[in-house]
Symmetry: C2
Amino acid sequence: MEIITATAEIGDRIREIRAQGRTIGFVPTMGALHPGHLSLVEKARADNDIVIVSIFVNPTQFNDNGDLEHYPRTFESDRSLLEEAQTDILFFPEAGELYHDEFRFKVTESPLSEELEGAHRPGHFDGVLTVVMKLLSLIRPDRAYFGEKDWQQFLLIRDMAAAFFLETEIVPCSLVREPDGLAMSSRNAHLSVEERQRAAFFPKVLRSCDTTDKKRRVLEDAGFEVDYLEERDGRTLGAVVLGSVRLIDNVRLSETETSP
Amino acid sequence: MEIITATAEIGDRIREIRAQGRTIGFVPTMGALHPGHLSLVEKARADNDIVIVSIFVNPTQFNDNGDLEHYPRTFESDRSLLEEAQTDILFFPEAGELYHDEFRFKVTESPLSEELEGAHRPGHFDGVLTVVMKLLSLIRPDRAYFGEKDWQQFLLIRDMAAAFFLETEIVPCSLVREPDGLAMSSRNAHLSVEERQRAAFFPKVLRSCDTTDKKRRVLEDAGFEVDYLEERDGRTLGAVVLGSVRLIDNVRLSETETSP
């Protein structure tokens, strides 16, 4: 696996790969990789000649500096996981290189980016869209893979790619759950043992056949702080805070239990 | 000359041209072509295998609906001028196609886009950057040509291309003047005969050796309303209103008269 940190160097490699007529699958991540990420890499591996994974903890998508500072960073473990998964190129840029414009330019969206997650994390999606636009322009992949755990993020990136006529196909990937049902997330590492046990109650309630109002009350009674809980696009989307950790998840309405 | 109006069709043609290994020079315009535009087409013709010119009166860069409505539209004349100038493809999209996202997505910049022109035309540069990003993503030219008459626009587009790592080289082209010194502009068509005669006083004052304060007073005494007048990047940049027409211009400090 090649590790590239400079934007000029990745640009040169991309031109080489394109000139050889080989296809590129791209998986952008913030590191702290878990089986959810690896399922994206696996899909990219199956569909393309060359697999590029980026690890970049994007400062502009954190609305909370503490969250940015404490975001888990596990580079050595990430590196060996990606090597095992037959990644061709790991792109690991510095913020100064990706944001050499000193944050002057942004991609913004309205209204979807201001709803749900966006209502609770002002500026979050501007940061996501901006960094994804930079990465897609730099890497020009044939396909880019995004997890459905961040459903709203997937919708926004899919629509951005269409709005700007990008050549890249935006491929959604099913979310991956722990055996007890909790959606895999890098932030789960911050849960205490006791919180980790209680966390699985969140997807259980999302999947129940209750109304969203009822689900909200059930979660609040169980000690979760509910940021939002809403049915959209045939899914129940939710975000809760447990202790100091914010969890998001979504389940298709077709996955909802039909009997109590 | 091929005329293409559908984004899907231009996308297909671009893929064909790329597959043949031919280079693309691109000149985005809002039509109402004059020799200033044609000098860009000529430069594109000299540097590239294929020349694509777009004509699109971009609604999102007009902060004034009257200005948008009255912007000169001269398609038949534009078409024959482009044919004479050996344009290969004229891209003439409808707003509904370029903005099929219904204006949800924007490219924004701060602070330069809020200064000078931006201070007097709120939202103008968001509209320019957004449409140029769409066109550059769709057409993926090797080189795109912009007139230095819109100096601030050129700087913003050059910096946007760098910020998003676009493959396109942004090429500035000297502005073209009428025999009496007035910068060529589609909006000049709106000047009355009397205003047209007085308009040439604006670049004459810009080029004089006076201070910007003095220049402002001289222009105001001559009946111009001065939006701004500022020295930047080795240039004197200005915008004035004469009757109902807004004129912008800029001259290099090195072009300034050294004796009164």
